[in-house]
Chain length 396, copies 4
């Protein structure tokens, strides 16, 4: 385990969770004090402040990188050279160029490499993707992924140099991969339109951004990220398909509602902005945020020699989209996503084209009395008209 | 009452609602059969297919226009000439040029003119605006307004010539005015970035669109409209402010949940796509969609000689933003909103600028143990660091 | 308007709401100062501290009683003698005996009498009742009505002598009539089982109670009332029918969610226990709590000479059920509801009795593969078994 | 694993979940065909129809009993004799007498015994219990636990002889233990008042029941069970405390909402009553229903030699409460819970007793203007009055 911050703690808690077979054996931190404390707290045998030593240690089968973004490449290089399996936190890199170098490192070394994009592994996401694959919503037309909170906990996130940017990098990387998961990994992100601004915090990076991503099929992804949101952490995804709709709430409204007068002054729920009033905790954060299912997929994939759901290539695509976001925010127009595409061709969203009585059926609607109302367009005159028909309409 | 379609019915039902003093006295329809039927159903004394006769009828104090978009200008002209008070449905016109002519007609005639934008009068919207004015959310940074459903009921909506466009015109006009209501009517909409596409229906107008509107204060409005949404009618607004958040759901999740096996084959809820399973009706559509409060404001304003909340000038601004949406969708870049602005100047969103120990405070966060964690930036070195302080942080 | 407390204010606000034809012309209060202040605030021409004067005043067509429970009978007596129409707040009386005397007063005088049970007039309740009447949920089996908050605002409520009891009287009167509305007014409440206790407040009356009401049809009503609930005012109703389910939330979760840091110290939402954090106001309390529709029904009924939805007889039945609650809480067993019943006979809940292959069908369930699984009971051996059949099951 | 029905499948899926160390090694079913199929499907080495063989098999460390209720005692006897650790599904037995015999079997044999009450292990329940222990809601006054669905899947549940009763046994066992978990395991269930009826299904057992359980502290538990609920599976818990409130929704409203036109005819979500319209699946049923955390606690407890959260004694107490429910439903009055109590004494709910100005403070309420309104009772005269005081009220 490289890194002992919030993400290192989440990862270790998930790896050690419940009846898991997996254990952290070696921990690295840049600070000796934190390395030692972490090792004690989690029962890790070896702790070190020497990155190479941690990676090359014989007890290390798999290197889990939970370091600031600017340190990923170096850690991957050492681990790839050591021939170890590598799991790297999100985002893979600060930009697509760096991501591509990282991708090449692991591909050249031939080591197993998994991209730790936890929010594509939430139980809700996994179930929703299965529903989509079963055809429950038809063709996906639009996906909205929103991740907003009042700003990150650690100092380095706020430094654009170390982080590579603001919430577009920090939170947008989640949204982009969530969107790809719903529109289909084989659906090429073609171009991006992005607005970004620094509205509140005294920083150089953006603290708010919205972007549209147009995919080859015609589908649109919409990401909304913010470091200025008030009220907790808002993690919501919405999918609109030709035959259905999916609304997921991963954090603030999950069927857990707690009101407290706050009289005790105790800590009652994580990531809430207040200690009293109505609070909305989640049951088990490690599971709800996808950590448990993510590591299960990673280690099961490693054990069985197959690719995990989230690969370094996915991380590279995400960085490609992020780069396009920043270019678009600057140029104020749509910018192409410049990546080496391996995903094949996607078919366009299916359009209905039915006729009734020689006219184009624009819409069909069931009336309360059982009859069907059609909106029709005459192909020659171009005139639109209503028509109410009995029976089952067009199908009849 | 000019028009006997769905909107004419809603308007009349709202005007006659409960213990109202107001009554429809004359009804006009292009079809004699519908005019007569409507008059009977609603107890209206006079019905006619002659537009001028309806308007100039001595029983007509106020002309309520509920006609297709391309017929607004003509109706306003006759009513203005007749010196009658005029209430016109949304959108005011098909484009800003037409809207400006309509605006000039009423201003030159000096008649009372109200813009029937019902969704700015929902009880939730009115209450939310008061909360914002009381400072509950601080400065508004972002407003999202979403209106989507599976497509309109009447044929003329689908004809871009009569309607002036697709859902950007039909639904976006609501969203734009809702957004203006939350960011402040004195906050100039500066420019627009819009994506629009025809994904499903065999029509020439768009059936889906998303637009960003940048306001003078720096606030961003986001509108999402669709005629392909599945699951009913989604009317949601969200406001993010520097000190708070508002989430409104006007239709699909309002505390009314009904499951029915559908065994009876009866009609159980409006605007639902299915007759069985989980349905989400609203209690009283006329109130929930704002019609009752809207007409109360219109007639109270008329009686007391003041301007209503929603004026023809507001309708003109909305058309100006819609025009910019279409230009942006075509040019694929931000387009200025070209309107004659009467709203004055807005101050920018307030940015925090506090210091601690000579360093810039980036973020302040209460820890479970009562201490405060600061993220600080050294102004000379540019280095970011965490610091945990006791007491009440910066204020201390 | 007799009474200038919270309820008098709500009533007057509702009567004067929007474009209403109705106006309060005379106001009575026991305190001269409050009478005068109320008259000024609401534009009421006449104010007095003489009850008889207020009632007999020529400007008074209809007497609206918004007084403490122990003063209803006297006010009704004077109004009945004066031959005025009477609207009385809930509960009608402190017990069934007093209620019966009140009922006799108005019936002997032959005056119009309406029972101001607002929560049976919420838009959601009215819509839900129509759905039930249309068969959407089949036969009603169970209704839960819950009304809880942290305790009333005025001192007299807490005095069991003036009020007639605690929340069973104050809030239970709503729940009982809501339950009757859903199971059907012609469905006799037969017996009651009630638990009541004083858990928190230093009072003699109960501060918490739960009661079950068994109706003639076999349906069960369940009321839950509390003056110790934390988190606002919880007004929820649930209906379980043989063919469907209804869940209504009248207050705390109605699609209006507001987070505020509370920095301004301003008042942002009514009936919330906190001034910061997540708050859940309703859009328009007068409408959402039923006041507007209630008075519309009352005055429309009065104008057209028909009975209103809620009559003094209904108020009397409610008091009869409340009495049974107190008797049951004391005797710790089911107690009969002792009332003079005018509602006729109700048919029992319909039970299914289908057979398949000569066996009793206990349950039928659609499998994912389209087949139907039956649970069957052999009528002779009494043995239960599963059987999977193709096609549409019993119907096939 | 004894039993291959739905519960055996859930248990095995949970035991094999993700990176678990635990595996099912031997499976028993009464039917050879199901034993073999199950073994193949789940990769279980040994399958048998001989109960004793399964239990005594050397590969069996721990016996997991997932059999119909009437077969628990026999299985426990054989396992206890074999000295194996035993985990038994809920309810422990059909009645308290049988439960006591089972308890004695394991206590005499000295084997590890865990009670598989999964719903006390849902992540939400575990988190909520921690919040209560941290004082977030003060003293618990009332707990409502509701479990309702349209009826069980397997035939034996419907046979009162095999099952021991209807939903009081099948679902009430969950509710009772959930309620105990919230009011505290050391809080003795003193007496029970229960209503039960057979409203719809042609069975001898009840298909609906509601019960109140009074605990030593004064707290009230309320269980609602039904086999006739329409709309899916309703699993909700509510806790009211002196300082706060908890509302949990374990199934139907967990932040996952899916609308589907159902056009594909595919299976899209479990336990939904319909294949189209709005559906509300959960993300990961095994986790959300508590199976994963339950087995983790069981095996961790077994490994470390401590008692699990849920013991056979807990199962026995549950059966004691169920017995009292049936006695009360028959006698129509409160019935004592007849159990051998090992839980010690509980302190009563704390009642406030503050004074102001020599008077009893009944209620304290913050006004919008910052002042405090007190409701006071004069101890000598017994008169109630309002008083508005500045500052912080009683504390000041």
């Amino acid at each position: 385990m490289l890194g002992t911050g919030l993400i290192g703690t989440f990862y270790t808690a998930a790896l050690h969770a419940k009846r898991s077979r997996d254990r952290v054996g070696v921990v690295y931190s840049r600070s000796e004090e934190r390395a030692t404390r972490f090792a004690e707290e989690w029962g890790v045998a070896v702790s070190t402040t020497d990155l190479r030593e941690a990676i090359e240690h014989p007890a290390t089968d798999t290197v889990v990188i939970g370091l600031p973004n600017d340190l990923h490449e170096e850690a991957v290089r050492i681990a790839a050279e050591a021939g170890k399996a590598i799991l790297c936190t999100k985002p893979l890199a600060r930009n697509a160029e760096e991501a591509q170098r990282i991708l090449e490192l692991v591909e050249r070394a031939g080591v197993f490499a998994g991209y730790l994009e936890d929010l594509c592994y939430t139980p809700k996401c996994l179930k929703a993707v299965r529903s989509i694959q079963d055809g429950a919503v038809g063709d996906v037309m639009w996906v909205r992924s929103r991740e907003t909170h009042p700003g990150p906990h650690s100092a380095w996130f706020w430094d654009a140099e170390q982080a590579g940017g603001g919430p577009i990098v920090d939170l947008g990387c989640h949204c982009i991969e969530i969107i790809r998961t719903y529109v289909g990994k084989g659906n090429r992100p073609v171009e991006v339109m992005c607005w970004a601004d620094t509205l509140v915090h005294p920083i150089e990076a953006e603290d708010n951004a919205i972007a549209l991503i147009r995919f080859e099929s015609g589908a649109i992804g919409q990401l909304e990220v913010s470091w200025t949101f008030r009220g907790g952490m808002d993690l919501r995804d919405e999918v609109a398909g030709t035959e259905g709709t999916i609304w997921l709430n991963n954090f603030l409204r999950t069927g857990f509602e707690l009101f407290t007068s706050g009289g005790t002054g105790e800590y009652v729920a994580e990531k809430a902005e207040t200690a009293s009033g109505w609070l909305f905790p989640v049951g088990d954060e490690l599971t709800e945020l996808g950590y448990v299912d993510m590591f299960a997929d990673m280690f099961d994939s490693l054990d069985s020699g197959r690719e995990p759901r989230e690969t370094f290539y996915d991380g590279y695509v995400v960085n490609g989209v992020i780069d396009a976001c920043y270019r678009s925010a600057a140029s104020r127009q749509w910018e192409p996503v410049e990546i080496e595409w391996r995903g094949g061709k996607a078919r366009p969203i299916e359009r209905t084209a039915r006729e009734y009585d020689g006219k184009v059926v624009i819409k069909e609607e069931k009336l309360p009395d059982g009859r069907v109302k059609l909106i029709l367009k005459d192909k020659t005159t171009g005139i639109f008209e209503d028509q109410v028909v009995s029976g089952s309409g067009v199908a009849g």
